[in-house]
Symmetry: C4
Subunit: 207 residues, 4 copies
């Protein structure tokens, strides 16, 4: 009589995560109410009502890009994972939870762009999301049998520093809005730029 | 001339279920309206309006975790299933039906945390969900050709007791709210804790 | 220089259809607004407000089951399909279109259960959905290279009669509500019962 | 020590895109509010309220078909792609962004059918969507290792002309509404007809 875990499918975890991220990224648009104009509004009034929706659109674009970065990294992270276990399902659900919440501070940021409370809530949500990602990453890297074999130590260290730096930056962004909301917005943009930089896509394989 | 069932794909059942669960888990957030504050509200007024949304957030987190438990168990259950038939599609749709309903009592619980009617509705929905899961499990275990071969009788019995206990606990939770809503909430938490316990992930394989 | 169609993946058509059906089946629940009760409402008032939502819930359950029947049949239909082409993508999109519309007459039926206009709209939507399915089926059966090889003529004829009967019944249900809405509701139930009957799951394979 | 990109899965990109497109295509229906009629409304009043919803339905059908065309082409495009890289993920996310926005001008067009501002916004969104598709196509065709081997130069040139013509037509449609909105609507229909034409499904394979 052998005791064994029921093997879990990485593919189903990925499909479920893709589903949740796809829904979140699309749902946010629901928060943007189309401007209501009367039938005999002038062209100027119509364009004005759309211009007023621009902060909401900018907040939506910001969250869309951040969710895009998260999806790309989720994709790349699970390319490094060989096996999954039940705990990893929960680390992933924890990450998805914070991603599901994102539409709330996004809409609040769009409505109250000028308020430090809005960037604080937004930064907090992103800080928790990045932390959830870091926790999941730590768990997998502490359980090496879950990882594919050919990841170099140097790369693993580099990826770890990068994600911890992201967590730290988001933490700082919670408070910087009280000095100027543009510092917080600048931090959000900085993190996106870091993740767009091409060197991150290269992986060193040890042989 | 042979008469045979058209084989059905387990994979498509899983993908469809994942889609529904992903949508339910994400849709619930729509019920949480972001607090409306005027442009010149004080910081205190803003935070107050968010604090008022905390019961809704707690109800959302509770349902998120319960749906997470259900997804993990759905995942593990279908890892034990080898073949599916048309009846199993319907047992699964029945389960999905009760999961789709969850956002309704969740929002009601968030708005009326202190009312026994809210925990009764919530407990009833969870009781029906767990019953639907139990019914599906019974069907598969009565039709052994649907199961993978190497499940020990001991494990199958243990899993059965566990799910029937869950059904019983949720049934009790419908009524306990009339004594104190905290008993019902305690039962909801207890069930989550039971499903988090690590021994459940181990499977004994008979050889 | 050979001229050839780019092969299309049946799997991606199925995944997309599953996504759309999963979203429709879950979205409908959004139309059911949770009853608003004041903080000091009596238990009687709370239960009354939920009882008032019962027609909406019944309409939702009806559409959930019909969409379930459609998904099960979509699943079984594409198990009979070997190849897909660009036209079949559009026959399928046409079917999905009428399925996407279902939440509208469902909500209208839930709000105006007693009106023949509500059953007429509902019946019309179902008539168009069933017609779209029949059209897709006719297309595939006229292009035999799309079909798997071992479908007997007898079975194909039986399936054809069944779907044409469904189309006819839904057509009749558009008008019967003006005599009594219960005739229309009875037709909707009758069709569900027909599709639940077990003999439909058996396929005769010619050898 | 070799330096290599982590391979990315084309399948996951497709599944994620399917999810987003499925949600967008289904979400739009939420913008169509079912007509509110009182319990004792006459049949005439009920039908009138539905007739008033017809512009919204037409706008919805238009966007449904355009999104269908986009999905079919997305499907066919990735059938021509052999490998994906990180940049392609972002080109695809850029395309999905503009597709996610579509429900906004769709609803606006439905509410203000007669206004050139509505067709301008709609045309602009479609212009950006087609441009995003063209950009993604250009990127893949400049990086030939991402493409499957057997695409003839002639076909590639034909496909390029077709998509650039689509971009140009949508650009024109932004402005033609100020002469007559029916010119813009005519352009939208013309593009759909172009993509329905059967010759587009044939591919010349060089040997």
């Amino acid at each position: 009589m052998e005791r064994k875990h029921i093997p879990l499918q990485k593919q189903r975890l990925e499909a479920f995560s893709d589903g949740v991220i796809a829904i979140v990224i699309t749902l946010m648009i629901l928060e943007i109410k189309i401007p209501e104009v009367t039938g005999n509004a002038s062209a100027g009034e119509i364009w004005n009502s759309w211009f007023n929706a621009i902060p909401l659109l900018i907040a939506y674009i910001l969250s869309f890009v951040i969710l895009g970065v998260l999806w790309v990294n989720h994709h790349q992270f699970f390319q490094q994972v060989k096996h999954i276990d039940r705990k990893l399902l929960w680390y992933n659900l924890h990450l998805l939870f914070w991603m599901c919440i994102i539409p709330l501070p996004t809409a609040f940021l769009g409505l109250h762009f000028e308020r430090p409370e809005a960037t604080a809530l937004y930064g907090f949500n992103m800080f928790m999301t990045a932390s959830a990602f870091a926790l999941m990453r730590e768990y997998v890297h502490k359980n090496e049998h879950l990882l594919i074999d050919h990841l170099s130590k140097a790369l693993r260290k580099k990826l770890r520093i990068k994600i911890l730096a992201t967590v730290a930056l988001y933490f700082i962004s919670i408070f910087t809005g009280y000095i100027s909301i543009y510092i917080s917005l600048g931090i959000f943009l900085l993190i996106i730029v870091i993740y767009f930089m091409p060197q991150n896509t290269v992986i060193e394989i040890k042989e």
